[in-house]
Structures are given as structure tokens and as C-alpha cells.
Symmetry: C2
């Protein structure tokens, strides 16, 4: 494991944040701990279980911090991520995407043999039959959730007879244990205006509630109804459909979620805890500094990073190729070589997926390094 | 090392390409070998040394394939990349970006002690003084190139007195060995029309030639004049300024470089050898299939991936979030669960940086897995 750290000589040794090799992914531990406590308290108050999504953080250390605050387990987007979380000691995992290939199903059975509470989303009868056959051959039933398409058409069975037939097959299949439903409305999470986001979230929840009721009418289990996310965390409780919330980004926040308005017209109750720290490496042109963080240091699927600590008023980051970022400095200003800057990530999940570890700081002190075990585990 | 492989059980065992865990980065070995031979022959014919850029491939296996075909060493964009290449047995490395932080300079001295021919670009007298002091303290001179800004203002000393003063300092400094100049015109490489690209490349080469002549007039060494790239490989030779070419992307090609026209009005003489292989994981909606490759499987700084093998005529890939891709299928078509598709990467360098290994295929046979040792080594 040690060889995967960017900065091996700092492991376990407290040090100065300024000495971190950059670009580096930095967690502000104060904000991170507050976010975990805030979401845990929110779920407790609303009688909702919390099953945070490991696709955001990909780290067993963070999964354990969430469990310690009361989370019931983790979600994983991919099988490889679940293998890494299982290896890291997490026993209750929902894999939220279908596992369909022959080699994937073989690995899924191996993971099911290793951890106590593996649950996988299924959205297709053909896939359900393949999972049933493999689980029967392996001699341990596989827990499944019927995945419902909220209208996004990314994954999920269609509402009505399709999802009911899938549920009935899974319930009867000797190799499968149907635990309930999953529905994730990924298309509503980043709608910035609260009223619009609420309206569209509740449309998905209504569909899910009707499906849950139809499952119950046919005697199908609905012990677990899993879904929701950081964007709908304060909307889903009023629908009273979910038993567990799948939020991921709340631990870190990012530019995208910082632009989303909360229910009271104010910002969300989560603070940015994740930053990229970078260094000025060239400064030969007035009004411009070049840093060591470019396309390989930030995801580029959203708007550019937003400068935080260390930057002069009015300074703006722009991408300057694969390896570098530019800092446009107002009034022809300059920054010294080696100056440290931090930026809020555009989109936390794919940015985390670029790094091997988190540098964990409290104020200006580096206090720990956490590996990102599931980084790159998209298969 | 083995734990970093996506697919450990295939290491060294030939197998079917269809059994690769997806999403996976796949090298078509036939095209890859032709690209390496074509560029090596081009440089030999033009009396130019070839120093390919490891920022593209980040793999010691590929560096060694390039060396075996006649390359004189490697370029690395970052110190961490150079450390990984040094660890992988590469002895001649130019680090093409400045190394300025105290901890970076300490690591640079450690690497200089380990490999025989480390050379680093420097663009600032303050940085040159720090490198000189560190190399004197370490007891082994550090080889440097004076980096010239071609007008992009990303890195490089300004033409004229600034770069000459930098060269004179480096030449006199006891801890430094000035080897010559570097100039990389990153802004011209992707200009699609050959005539425009040629014109702008030659502007940068003229500036570099004048600087080289001024260096010679002052008795400064110009044994190495390093620069150029895949986009200017067939333009730079006519300028007769470079001693070595820094091309990187030519080994793989990508959508961006496939859109660049060659000097004869035709395409470039390099074939696409790098693909992302993905699997259909959901297909419940007519005219649509969902694959397991999204923002974490492709870089998103350029246009979307272009479907290659396995896709029906007219099918188009679109990003469908962090974890998935959508395949829009004409005429309401469908694809079976588990169907394998491949896509040309939008931009090879940051896509490679998402994966831990290459799956190397000849035709449909998986014949090897190569680790990407410098993946994520941006610090």
C-alpha cells in the first residue's frame, strides 16, 4: 500500500501543510467532521437510515468515519469499488449499478462469500436470472434491490409491470433474496433552485412510492427503499418513501453543490471540506502565474475550479493544459515561485478519482494521510 | 505492484479480449508498434533525436519500447513522473516543467543521485540559484535546459536578455551544467489546418533559433535544443533548430490528434492504438444503451469519445454521469447486456491518467498487461 502514497515520508507524521507535495487533495478535517455530523443528525431526526455513497470518497477511512457517526453501510457504484471497500472492512454494501458480465458475476459471488451484507441493484430479468444461477451454484443467496428508472433512462426497470415482474422473479428465485427497491434521480440533484429541485425530486419519489405500494400489494419485500442524494437530502424526508439515503457529496461539497440552494433560500448546510492545493511554478509574465495543477489535477466535466485560500482578491484559475493551471491576477500582479494556493473542486467525485490519497489537515497542520483505495476501481 | 492491477488473474496469461473487466484501457499492439516505428524512422531520416514524452503513456514498458526503437530517453512533465520512470530503469530524462518547491528540489537531488542523465528545465533565475545551491550541497552537478517562452506564457523565460541572463547564470554556476535550450509551443499542436499549424510552429522555431544563435554568440552550450510534439513532428525538421523531438501522443493518437491534418492534406501517419473498452450494463429503453464508462473512464476536457469497434452504424456515445456512458442508437435499436464496445479517447494523456494498467491486445487476444507506474504522479 505504502508505494501508492504521493508523499510517503509524511505518513503518520504531523507536519506543515505548506510542505505537502503538490498538486494534492486536501481535506479540511473541521469542515469534514461537521458535514458528517450534520447529515447523520439530519437522518436521525427524520427517521431515515444513512447509507453514504463511496463513489464520492472511495476511502475506507472515510467510510468508517461515516459508520462511526451512525451510517448503516455504504453504497458503491461499481464492483471494483465494493471489492476495495470490502477489503477495507466494510460489511454492508449496496452496489448501485448492475453487474452483468460473466467475469463480473464471478467476482460478485466471490465478494458475496466474503462480506456479510452485500446487496446489488438489478434492473433486468435476464441479469436477474444470471445472478440467480450463479448464486445457486455458489451456495449463498445474493441480496438484490429492484432498481426503478425514475425517468432518466440510465439504469432501472421501467415502472409498472416491468419492475413488478422483476421483483416477482427475484422474490421467487432460490438464489436471490429480494430486499426491496432502489431509485436514484441523478438528473435532479444539481438543479440549483430549491423549488424546482423539490418538484422534480417529489415526482420521482411519488413514482417510487407507488411502486413500493404495488410491491407490497403483491407480497414483495420492501424492507429497503434506497435512493436520494446530497441534492435531495432535505426534500426526500417529506415524501416518506425512502428507508435509506444514498448521499455522497455532502462530506466534501464542490462548486456544483455549492451553487445549489437550500430549502430556506440560503446555501446548503454543508461546508466545503475538499480542496486541491497547488504551487506556483512559473511567474515570468505580469498578471499571470502558472501552477502545477491542470487537467490531471481537477475533473473537467464542470466549470473550472474556484480559488480559495492563498489567492489575491479577484484572481481567477483557468486550465492551462494537462499539467498546469493559470492564475489570472488583476492589475498586473504577480505571485512568488512556490506560493501555495487552494481551490474548491469543480466536481468532487471525478476529482477524487485522480488522486491516490487525501492529505488531512486541521488548520495549517498536516495530521494524517488517508489512502483512496478504490481510486480508479471503475471496473 | 500486483495489487494495482484491475485484473490480476490475467497477468501474463493470454486470454480473450472479451473477458477484460471494463471499463479498461486497451492498446492495439499492431498499431502501437507501427506508430513507434514510424516516428523513429521519421526522426532518423531527419537527423533528429527522439525523446518521447512520458506524460502521455506514464509507463516504463512503453518507454522501453521507444528506447528499443532508437529514442534517446524520455521527457517527464513532473518530478513524480520522473521518479517513477527512474524507478522503472530509464536513465536519461528531461523534466520539462520547473521544479521550484523546497521539498521538490530535495526530491530532485535524490533522483539526480540515482540516475545517470537527469536534466531539468529552468525558467527563472531565482529557481536556478536554488537548484545550484542544492546541487552544490548534494555534491553532484545538475544538468539544466533554459526554457524559452514561445509566447504561450505558461512556462519559459522571456526571449532576449531574460533567457540569456538565465543561460549565463546556469553556465557559470558550479552546481549546474547548462546543456542547452527547451521550447514547447503547446498552443500550436492541435491547430487542425496544416498551413496554419506550420506557420505558427515556424514562428516559435524562428524565435528558438535566434535564441540558440545568441547563446552560441555568448559561448553558452546548445548541445541540446529540445521541443516540438506530435502536432509539429513534420514541420520542425525544416526549421533545423531542434536537436531532439518531444512528441508524446503519436504512440496512441486520440480524437484531437485524429482531427489534425497532415502535411499532404491527408491524415497524420499515426493510427489510433489506444481505446477504452466498455460493456453495456443496462438496456431497458429503446434507442439507448448504458455502458459502464463515464467521467471516471474518459477525460472530459475535449469532445466526447468516438465509438469504434462493436457499435452499430450511426451509434453515438454521450456522457451519462460519473460512472456511465449512454449509447444513442439510431432507429430505436438496442444492444444486448454485456455487449462490448470500444471508443477512441477524446484526449489520450488525461484519459491514461485515470487507469492503473493497459490491456495489450493483438486482434482479439489479450496478450499482456502493462502497469501505468506514473499514473497520478502529478506532484
Amino acid at each position: 500500500m505504502a508505494s501508492r502514497f504521493v508523499n510517503e515520508n509524511l505518513i503518520g507524521k504531523p507536519g506543515s501543510r505548506a510542505a505537502i507535495a503538490t498538486p494534492a487533495l486536501v481535506i479540511d478535517l473541521d469542515a469534514f467532521e461537521r458535514n458528517i455530523a450534520t447529515m447523520a443528525e439530519h437522518c436521525r431526526r427524520n427517521g431515515l437510515s444513512l447509507r453514504p455513497h463511496a463513489k464520492t470518497h472511495k476511502s475506507a477511512a472515510i467510510a468508517k468515519a461515516q459508520l462511526a457517526a451512525g451510517a448503516i453501510g455504504q453504497c458503491c457504484a461499481k464492483l471494483g469499488e465494493a471489492e476495495a471497500m470490502g477489503e477495507g472492512g466494510i460489511e454492508s454494501i449496496v452496489i448501485t449499478s448492475p453487474v452483468v458480465t460473466a467475469q463480473g458475476i464471478a467476482r460478485l459471488m466471490a465478494l458475496n462469500a466474503k462480506i456479510s451484507d452485500l446487496i446489488v441493484a438489478v434492473d433486468n430479468p435476464e441479469n436477474a436470472r444470471a445472478l440467480d444461477a450463479a448464486a445457486r451454484a455458489a451456495g449463498k443467496p445474493l441480496k438484490v434491490l429492484a432498481d426503478l428508472d425514475p425517468g432518466l433512462h440510465r439504469t432501472g426497470a421501467q415502472p409498472g409491470e416491468a419492475v413488478l415482474a422483476l421483483g416477482e422473479f427475484a422474490h421467487k428465485a432460490q438464489g436471490l433474496t429480494l430486499r426491496g427497491l432502489q431509485c436514484y434521480a441523478g438528473h435532479v440533484m444539481h438543479i440549483e433552485a430549491f423549488a424546482d429541485r423539490r418538484e422534480q425530486s417529489l415526482v420521482a419519489m411519488k413514482l417510487l412510492g407507488e411502486t413500493r405500494d404495488a410491491f407490497r400489494a403483491r407480497g414483495l419485500p420492501t424492507d429497503i427503499v434506497s435512493g436520494g442524494g446530497t441534492g435531495s437530502f432535505d426534500i426526500d424526508p417529506e415524501a416518506k418513501v425512502l428507508t435509506e439515503l444514498q448521499g455522497g457529496s455532502y462530506v466534501f461539497m464542490d462548486k456544483q453543490y455549492n451553487d445549489v440552494h437550500g430549502g430556506n433560500g440560503a446555501t446548503m448546510p454543508f461546508a466545503t471540506s475538499l480542496f486541491v492545493q497547488m504551487s506556483v511554478v512559473s511567474n515570468n509574465t505580469k498578471g499571470l502565474a502558472t501552477t502545477d495543477a491542470g487537467f490531471k489535477a481537477f475533473s473537467t466535466d464542470a466549470e473550472p475550479p474556484v480559488l480559495a485560500a492563498g489567492a489575491p482578491e479577484g484572481a481567477k484559475y483557468f486550465f492551462f493544459g494537462d499539467e498546469q493551471g493559470g492564475i489570472a491576477l488583476p492589475g498586473g500582479g504577480s505571485l512568488p515561485l512556490g506560493a501555495q494556493l487552494t481551490a474548491v473542486t469543480p466536481h468532487c467525485d471525478p476529482t477524487v478519482n485522480l488522486y491516490d490519497c487525501y492529505h488531512v489537515v486541521r488548520g495549517d497542520t498536516l495530521i494524517d494521510i488517508w489512502p483512496i483505495e478504490a481510486r480508479g476501481k471503475s471496473a
